[in-house]
Amino acid sequence: MKKVKHRNSTSKVLGFCLAFLLAFSTSIFAQGDPVAGKSLFNSNCAACHKLDKDMTGPALRGVAERLEKDWLFEWIRNSSKMIKAGDPYAVEIFEKYNKTAMTAFPQLSDADLENILAYTSEEKKAEVVPVAQAGAGDASADSGMSTDLVLGLLALILLVLAVMLFMVTKTLNNLAKQAGVQAEETDSVWQKFVKNQFLVLVAVIAFMLFAGYHAFGFLMQVGVDQGYQPVQPIHFSHKIHAGDNGIDCKYCHSSARVSKTSGIPSLNVCMNCHKNISEVAATTADGEYTKEFYDGEIQKLYDAVGWDGTKYTGESSPVKWVRVHNLPDFAYFNHSQHVTVAGVACQKCHGPVEEMEILEQHAPLTMGWCVNCHRETNVKVEGNEYYAKIHDELKKKYGVDQLTIAQMGGLECGKCHY
């Protein structure tokens, strides 16, 4: 009897599951799958449409509620045909968006389109701000505060001790005066020191060595800007662009390939991407650099280039970027010679730029630093038929397998100073 009851319950559960699955699957077919729709939207539509903002084409959130499904299907598959046929709304949209013809998508099936529409009908989600990172930022700020506090307290205690010592001496002196005690007339420590000629000699030598060392160090760092980290008019994070997103250095600094200077990219290069990216993702915010901060910096770019979100206003103003790496005028340096001809990686001189939130000068850029690299680096002479003979002769002359830049004449004064 028990078995029968058990079997009965299993079949009931199975039946319920089947009914549930069927109900669920029919609902998928009827409304479309927003997850599949998202990937279709991203690969087919997102070049011109965003969900919440007009781009090349209109914003598409809730488009299925605004328009009839059949009309939308026909439009997506061949909009120009509808415009030619004179459909009033089709013509209106075409005129409104600068007469840009939408790419036809005849390859999308009914199910695909249902999925895309399901994705556009989703409610806008509130963006989740990563809490852990914000917490970490606070913690580091706290620890910074506490070290300051401890140091301040120590300084205060030292001051109090000094004042106490001073007051105690004063009181003792007064007491001694009142008691009429005469202190013995002895040489002070200073007088004893002055009388001891050997000690004076040693002290003078020590002082001169100390002073010489520091004077030399001071003079050697004049004109060296290693670690120079100016505040730029627009906060540009190389870490986000070159590091996280992996954009090649030469994408923006394209003149480094072909000219003397590496170039500050003109704002149209920024706008190649930032026409579409008007705000950062919530996950980009990191500690003290909040999403609001980054969005504000992108807004500064828009103000400078004169972009109102949909078109250029024509009111632009130059951005006063502060130059970080600056060689003196008497030294010649050519980027293309190093980047294109020698194939030196940018990081060799500029350091791990892709990790720098604020760019700083990594190398000292002194002559010693240049010369050192020229002594250590081998020149790639393989596959250079034209100079093969002279390369062979130079190798014979120096008795080496690999020629360094120095051996090729890279230390001659006139190479850089003329």
């Binding site: 690969s43 449409h49 004109g223 997103n245 394209s254 170039g263 991407c273």
Partner: protein, 183 residues
């Protein structure tokens, strides 16, 4: 006694003030007039022009040396014309393709992907969407050149970053990628 104290304090002040070099300002220089260029540096400010900067746009009707105007307009008709009629001025050599590949890696692959499937790093990270697979687009070397020159939809113009020859080299390479993808 007092004099030596004054001396010590003076030395300490000098040492402290020297050690307070900030990183947000450039350092002192020995002979600034040997360090700073007399001529205008690239992108420097200049009072010679009304807008206060040294970098100026070419005067209307003139062209930069080594730069030729591209006379196909940035319109749908222009694109069709470029697609059907532009002739590649370069030969499909290994060297051209190698340069094209290298430049493609710098300027295109971050969105279009190294194989042209529309799966570059920016697309994977959902920063930039809607990048097509070359396989799905009806393109020729001419229309690729036109798109590099003027941009299309979300893509901006790359005419400033690549010169004429380089644009054609990239166009050749993109065409090769498309051929590889449709194989």
């Amino acid at each position: 006694m007092k004099k030596s104290l004054v001396k010590i304090i003076a030395i300490a002040t000098v040492l402290v003030s020297v050690s307070c070099k900030t990183d947000t300002a450039p350092n002192y220089q020995f002979f600034p007039n040997m360090y700073d260029s007399v001529g205008y540096e690239t992108y420097s400010e200049s009072e010679a022009f009304n807008n206060g900067v040294e970098a100026q746009l070419p005067v209307a009707g003139t062209v930069k040396r080594g730069w030729l105007p591209f006379e196909v307009p940035n319109t749908a008709e222009g694109r069709t014309f470029a697609k059907d009629s532009l002739v590649v001025p370069l030969k499909m050599t290994e060297a051209n393709l190698a340069t094209g590949k290298e430049l493609y890696g710098v300027y295109c692959s971050v969105c279009h992907g190294t194989k042209g499937k529309g799966d570059g790093n920016l697309v994977k990270r959902e920063k930039f969407l809607g990048v097509p697979n070359y396989k799905d687009r009806d393109i020729t070397t001419g229309s690729i050149y036109h798109t590099i020159y003027y941009g299309l939809n979300s893509m901006g113009s790359h005419a400033g970053q690549l010169n004429e020859k380089e644009r054609w080299q990239v166009a050749l390479y993109v065409n090769k990628l498309k051929a590889d993808l449709t194989k």
